[in-house]
Symmetry: C2
Subunit: 300 residues, 2 copies
Amino acid sequence: MKEFDLIERLTRSLHTNASVLTGPGDDCAVVEMQGHGKLLVLKTDCVVEDVHFSRGTNALHVGWKAMMRPLSDFAATSAVPQFALITLIVSKKTEVTWVKEIYRGLRRAAKRFEVSIVGGETSSTTGPIAISTTAVGFVERGRAVSRRGGKAGDDLFVTGRLGGALTQKHLKFIPRIVESRWLTKNFSIHAMMDLSDGLGTDLPRLARASKVGFKIDTEELPLTRGANIDAAISEGEDYELLFAISPRDRQKLQTEWTKKFPKLRLTRIGRLNQKLKIKRPVLSDSRTDRKLKGGYVHFQ
Amino acid sequence: MKEFDLIERLTRSLHTNASVLTGPGDDCAVVEMQGHGKLLVLKTDCVVEDVHFSRGTNALHVGWKAMMRPLSDFAATSAVPQFALITLIVSKKTEVTWVKEIYRGLRRAAKRFEVSIVGGETSSTTGPIAISTTAVGFVERGRAVSRRGGKAGDDLFVTGRLGGALTQKHLKFIPRIVESRWLTKNFSIHAMMDLSDGLGTDLPRLARASKVGFKIDTEELPLTRGANIDAAISEGEDYELLFAISPRDRQKLQTEWTKKFPKLRLTRIGRLNQKLKIKRPVLSDSRTDRKLKGGYVHFQ
């Protein structure tokens, strides 16, 4: 594979817009920020062969996932992505067709959210393929959501359904950016994150960052058809939103959500509570509870 | 290696400043941009084991290089770096000590230019180690330099000395950000880039982007002690600046440079000229000329 020729060909075909003053092919990308006076939002993430995808996976889907993973973090922050940079680490034996398909997936995913790919580096490797994507964008000062603002008593909601994502969804998911932007436009969202490692791993992170505990009613979890509670808690790769909001907003949220997003389920799965004064997590003997790492209270 | 524990420990120790509202450990980094109304500058780059460094290389130096490579592109653009994101792809067999040393090198390099590391992702791999670094910063509207602005008749200058960088310098170089910022503050720099792949590969890129040809006097090349002309043209990894400037500025530039940077050589190595009306590069038979890929005129 002639590296530089290929990059040149691939990056020539990248769609950029008027805000991109210097795009791929120069030393740095130089761009104009939209959102004058807003906060800058940055995220990098990667997918690695044999870890995030297997050798036989459709390259188009791999490219899609490589772009959408960091954009899912933008959803978690309620931020608007604008630019992306790609580092593609491929073996000299990698087929040109495969690399082209990766880029087709990256471009298709970027276009879905009007993101311009403004830089593309390629390196060779003797090992597995890796794609690192950096997304850059903005968020209004009052709308940036982190994992830290959850309060004891807050309702916990998740979008969509959990579990079973490893079959198909993890290669085709659409980050919940539209939903997240709607949420922060209309409600005060105290804390939010995207579920990439599974509720059983991610919820304790949100609780820890917010210095609170949590209580989940596992019977209420919105399961993907065919998935069980264990899968919903521990499989991961759901890329749904988990957020904390005051119970005072509960009724209004549920009514307006159903009007705005009639096809996407929104489920109250439990609530945040006061952190127990214990150093070690309380773990019971049930199989579900063993999945929980570092939580302050156990799942019911 | 317990991935999440390690990241948490490493990122806790990262130095950030008041402009970092949400730093490592959350979904996205959220930061305030300095430089109100300035242009946003973005660059990603990577170093891969067995390609950019060998297994036995001091991990501190690998971390240093991983940070400094994209910062050298900031020098090329005359931009000020502010934030960095790291993706570290390591094998499960990688020693924790090694990863810590990588981060020590990354931190030390970032600190040299007051860059805050605001995000750090880690993934496992079954193959060679790879580190991808994204740098984000700004440049004033009138000071962004690309490869595209060179004009026929411009003088070509390089900083420092060329060749022999693979022995030591490629692991310890200091990007020419200070020099580049001084250049665009005091002079009109038409085109600029950093020499990472060697003059014989990089200069034709600058000429091609500027739609001009070039003529180099190889006798004038500033050689590193012990390096020959071939090495200066084709080894690469020099990370010196190459820039094009009007010959009207020549005398003032040389006088003021010597006052400002008495220890760093600045050499006029040739000039840009009108692009010859040929489709294929003219290549002579000499060994030096064979090193040149895609130039429009041959080295003398």
